[in-house]
Amino acid sequence: MTDKVTQNAPQPQLLDRADVRVKHAEGLGGTISAFFDRVRSGDLGSLPVIVGLAIIWTVFQSLNPVFLSANNLVNLLFDCSTVGVIALGIVCILMLGEIDLSVGSVSGFASALVGVLWVNQGWPVGFAIVTAMAAGAVIGSVYALLLNRFGMPSFVSTLAGLLAVLGLQLYLLGSTGSINLPYESPLVNFGQLMVMPAWVSYGLAAIAGIGIFWTGYREATRRREAGLSAQSMAGIVARAVVIVVVLEAIVFYLNSSRGIPWMFGLFVGLVVAMNYALKRTQWGRSMHAVGGNREAARRAGINVRYIYTTAFMLCSTLAATGGILAAARLASSSQQAGTGDVNLNAIAAAVIGGTSLFGGRGSAYSALLGIIVIQSIASGLTLLDLSSSLRYMITGAVLAIAVIVDSLARRSRVSHGRA
């Protein structure tokens, strides 16, 4: 009897380590093998997109050495930010297993609205921007209303919205068809020129690392105090250091050209905020639940209609924001804004980044990773002087591959009990 006590004494039982059947990853080696186990069972996370990005970059770099030059990458970041913000909204919608096909039209409409209110009507630019974003929110709330009250599938309502909002955009722009935004204005500067000073970009990369370390450290301490297992200090430090080194290296390379665009900073800020909202708030938890099992979420007392409304409004507002950024980037509001491949690029970016079309799975970072893939392809093909016909075909093929990977991974997750 006393033997047993002395044996048990040095190792107090952790609350979540009582079951002997579960393997737990211990130390660095354990973390790595757990990662491989996870990938094998179909929980791919961001792995496919990172592998894909590596392939795409290698191919384009070998075809044209300008591709990975700092100058080209800075331009790439400018281009990423506009559609990326739209893709961020799409992540929200896909999370619920719904779709918004009208984001391109909404973005074009928002850019037209800013052009008309600001340049033609002489409103202050800030006021015009807020109005355009509010208009986006209203459009989203209409889709939510159609879904909640009439059970209209979002596929149909947003397809109708695609046409209707495009009509609104053409009506606003009238016969002139295009409004040029003043070149010296802060908005156009923001979209075309403004980059972070070097110290700001280095500082932000460092702050990201410190933030990751601090949250990891705090959580580990709290868990240990509460008698739960926690990540080791070495693991937390290692992760933070790796992230800081990688980020600082990227920043250093880009600073050898113009530097990091403020617009890209805004995009990343939105991604981080969205990631927090989806992972660490009750709203985000409800989003996952509604996407995973709508009826179960309803029976758990979640206001499902409210969740749909917020998601559709957020998506359309972000689409409008993306449209305004695109107008700033091009210094014009035109009939072409938001048409063509904007819609599909935004949706493709979210899916390629790893947000499931089947609902309930996804992350804000998939918008960031996905849009970098899409824009890399676009930029690489432009450098090769290939026509847009070829660009469409290749982007389409990449989207198809991404969806196939998503479906296969889902099947594998189901068979490994991780759906």
């Binding site: 979540d16 708030t281 996952h288 639940a289 758990a300 189901v414």
Partner: protein
């Protein structure tokens, strides 16, 4: 209904009282004029054949379906259960037959779904501790609370669903087939749990097809047949009585089989 005269008059507070509850799905009357009383500290078993309306009744009480007519009185106040959130906030917790869990979320997220601690900055540590406490109370064999529900077995999922219903300290718990997917030990745990819940002064409504389980814990057995009340029994009622109330006839497949076996045994020795 005068069937209530069979029961001994309980001195305890009436938690839930249904009068004349009907529910129609199109031309089908799933429930017709159902009366039901549940007192504090009482386990009421709801039995009936497939399609008798047990699960529909539970869904009405959980706010999933709205009754076509009839009144629901909860703790002396007439209430309208317009949606699941209303039922939950009143203190009516339900373990559904299909469990209503989100397979893509982990155990902690499912237990706290819709009731997360600190909504703007989820308190994962406190939630995980509370989840472990609830699960340990149920002697649950859950390997890890951070795995998605999809990786759990049927019995483990059932335990998670029961743990979730206990989270909010409800006044009335409804369990729809709580032991159907459970092993021997866990069935005993759930029955123990039901008794513990009763001792805490909560009302319990339990649906089961297992007469043994029903007799073991129920204070009263309410029989539904084709959406109507068909008698109220005490747990010492004979199997014959219960079965004939459930199937609606003295002469039914169960009694015929029993009498055949009795005859065969008589003729054999």
């Amino acid at each position: 209904m005068t069937g209530t005269s069979q029961e001994p008059a309980p001195a305890r507070e009436l938690v839930l009282s249904l009068r004349g509850i009907s529910k129609q799905f199109g031309a089908v009357s799933a429930l017709t004029d159902i009366d039901l009383d549940v007192h504090a500290g009482e386990v009421v078993a709801l039995v009936g054949d497939n399609g008798a309306g047990k699960s529909t009744l539970v869904k009405v009480l959980a706010g999933v379906h709205q009754p076509t007519s009839g009144t629901i009185t909860f703790k002396g106040e007439p209430v309208t259960l317009s949606d699941p959130a209303t039922a939950l906030s009143l203190g009516i917790a339900t373990v559904f037959q299909d469990l209503a869990l989100c397979e893509n979320l982990d155990v902690v997220a499912n237990i706290f779904l819709g009731k997360e601690l600190s909504p703007m900055r989820l308190d994962e540590v406190s939630m995980e501790i509370k989840a472990w406490k609830l699960l340990n109370e149920l002697s649950a064999r859950i390997p890890s609370v951070r795995e998605p529900i999809a990786s759990l077995s049927g019995g483990q999922r059932q335990t998670v669903a029961i743990a979730r219903s206990l989270l909010l300290d409800p006044k009335l718990i409804m369990l729809d087939e709580p032991t159907a997917a459970l092993g021997v030990a866990q069935t005993a745990e759930v029955l123990d749990l039901i008794e513990r819940v009763r001792e805490r002064g909560l009302g319990v409504i339990m649906i089961s097809h297992n007469m043994e389980d029903v007799r073991a814990v129920a204070d009263r057995i309410v029989v539904l047949r084709l959406g109507k009340n068909n008698g109220i029994f005490l747990p010492d009622a004979s199997n014959q009585e219960l079965v004939s109330a459930i199937t609606g006839a003295e002469n039914n497949s169960v009694s015929r089989r029993a009498s055949r076996r009795a005859q065969a045994q008589e003729s054999q020795p």
